[in-house]
């Protein structure tokens, strides 16, 4: 198997880079999008609650593969309109389309995790906030948010790993991530080992990610 890796060393390395960069970007952008949605879900009031609920239902309900096709080929169908809107530079690029699909998808999952941990904060904490006269903003910023994030960490960690795995679908829209390179090498050589080499890469990536997450979690000494 090692020979197959060295024969296509450059391809594997560039695939690794694409996979890692996509995963990291999607995690970060997804989190930024998920925060307000998760908070709106937890409050579950007014228009924002309904919108957040709709968002979550929609993007959690459909397979990522379908979302990916929808964004990529769907946007292609409307290329003329997108061009006149000045958005085509974004949708033209498979990388951006793939990233967008990943972000939309993971934000829905991350939002639910954030909602869960916000709602899971025991009412006793909120009572303490009231009894100590904290303002709503202080209470959120100094108490609810840090506790929620700490409680959400294991769930978010899982989601990050799922996301890493999900990037493999992007190969289908011409992105040469790890999976894309594996498919290419396989089509060149018809050598099944190409997939095993890819599998090893993913195993290592997940191990690294898990290790990172464990390190972050361990910083919350108080949760013990």
């Amino acid at each position: 198997m090692l020979d197959l890796w060295f024969d296509y060393k450059d391809l594997w390395l560039s695939g690794l880079k694409v996979t890692a960069s996509l995963t990291l970007l999607a995690i970060l952008l997804g989190f930024v999008l998920a925060l307000p949605i998760g908070v709106a879900r937890a409050r579950n009031r007014g228009l924002s609650g309904v919108l957040a609920y709709g968002y979550v239902i929609f993007f959690r309900g459909m397979p990522l593969l379908v979302l990916l096709f929808l964004v990529y080929y769907g946007a292609g169908e409307f290329s003329r309109d997108l061009r006149s809107l000045g958005l085509w530079w974004f949708f033209r690029d498979a990388y951006y389309c793939g990233l967008l699909a990943l972000v939309l998808n993971t934000a829905a999952y991350q939002a639910e995790i954030i909602r869960g941990s916000l709602n899971g904060i025991p009412s006793s904490i909120r009572e303490a906030n009231a009894a100590l006269n904290l303002t709503r903003w202080t209470a959120f910023r100094r108490v609810l948010f840090p506790i929620a994030i700490a409680r959400a960490l294991p769930g978010l960690g899982n989601e990050f790993i799922l996301l890493l795995k999900a990037t493999s679908l992007l190969a289908i829209i011409t992105i040469f991530d790890l999976m894309g390179q594996a498919r290419f090498i396989f089509s060149e050589t018809f050598d099944l080992r190409a997939y095993y080499v890819a599998a090893l890469h993913y195993l290592v990536l997940v191990l690294v990610l898990e290790w990172l997450l464990r390190r972050i979690e361990r910083r919350n000494a108080w949760a013990a």
């Binding site: 239902i57 309900g61 593969l65 379908v66 096709f69 929808l70 080929y73 169908e77 493999s168 997940v206």
Partner: protein, 241 residues
């Protein structure tokens, strides 16, 4: 309107093909789910076994299939299992046309993946039942069989249902991946339809809507089941112990 006519059943539209695709998707999910659950129990049992090799094996199963992208698992199972079957068939001098269908490959691959997660659902549910229940059964002299059958299992469903419901939804959506090994599921049919109609947005939107409806319907069923399983547990005012 024009677009909708693409969905009519019969020789001029894609409605009937989509329906067949839908039944393939559902069929695969329905066939895979029970297999996954049984496998989950097995893996949980192996993981908590006293025998070290068994424990390691089960642990490895979980780590591997939780780390590999589903699509990679699928491709590897699809191609590799065929090679293995051919070897075995050749070696045993059996009918060498034995072959593994995309359906079976999908079933095996998805079962492996889902059971890796499922074993944790099983573990969580058993933990949620609590040591106290098992201890009470022991103290009352119940045999291990009765303890499992009469005390643990009835409570298991209640604790496992949310997790299992989640897994079902994951499974349902993961079936879309078998389209890449040309099983004519919903997504594959959509791709074929787009090949001739050149209406990707419309067809993928339809597919998305179907999946979303399936998921919503599933969670509705799940809620009903959960309510049923919660009978007797629901605190009528106070929730002690």
């Amino acid at each position: 309107m024009e677009l909708l006519s693409l969905l009519t059943p019969g020789p001029t539209g894609w409605g009937d093909e989509l329906l067949i695709g839908l039944s393939m998707t559902l069929g695969l999910a329905l066939a895979t789910f029970p297999v996954s659950i049984m496998l989950s129990f097995l893996i949980h049992w192996a993981r908590s076994s006293r025998r070290r090799p068994l424990r390691y094996l089960a642990q490895m199963h979980v780590s591997i299939f939780k780390s590999l992208p589903e699509i990679l698992t699928l491709l590897i199972i699809y191609y590799q299992s065929q090679v293995v079957i051919s070897w075995v068939a050749d070696y045993a001098g059996l009918d060498s046309t034995l072959s593994i269908s995309p359906f079976l490959a999908g079933l095996i691959a998805l079962s492996l993946v889902i059971s890796a997660y499922g074993s944790e659902v099983v573990r969580g549910a058993l933990q949620a039942i609590g040591k106290g229940q098992v201890e009470a059964a022991q103290a009352l002299g119940l045999s291990r069989f009765h303890c499992f059958w009469k005390v643990v299992l009835p409570q298991f469903w209640r604790h496992a249902l949310p997790g299992l419901g989640n897994l079902w939804v994951i499974l349902l959506k993961d079936t879309s991946l078998v389209s890449v090994i040309a099983l004519s599921d919903l997504t594959h049919v959509a791709a074929l339809a787009i090949n001739t109609t050149r209406e990707p947005f419309f067809f993928y939107l339809v597919i998305a809507a179907i999946y979303i409806s399936l998921v919503i319907f599933s969670s509705w069923i799940q809620k009903r089941l959960e309510r049923r399983a919660a009978r007797g547990f629901v605190a009528g005012g106070r929730a002690h112990a």
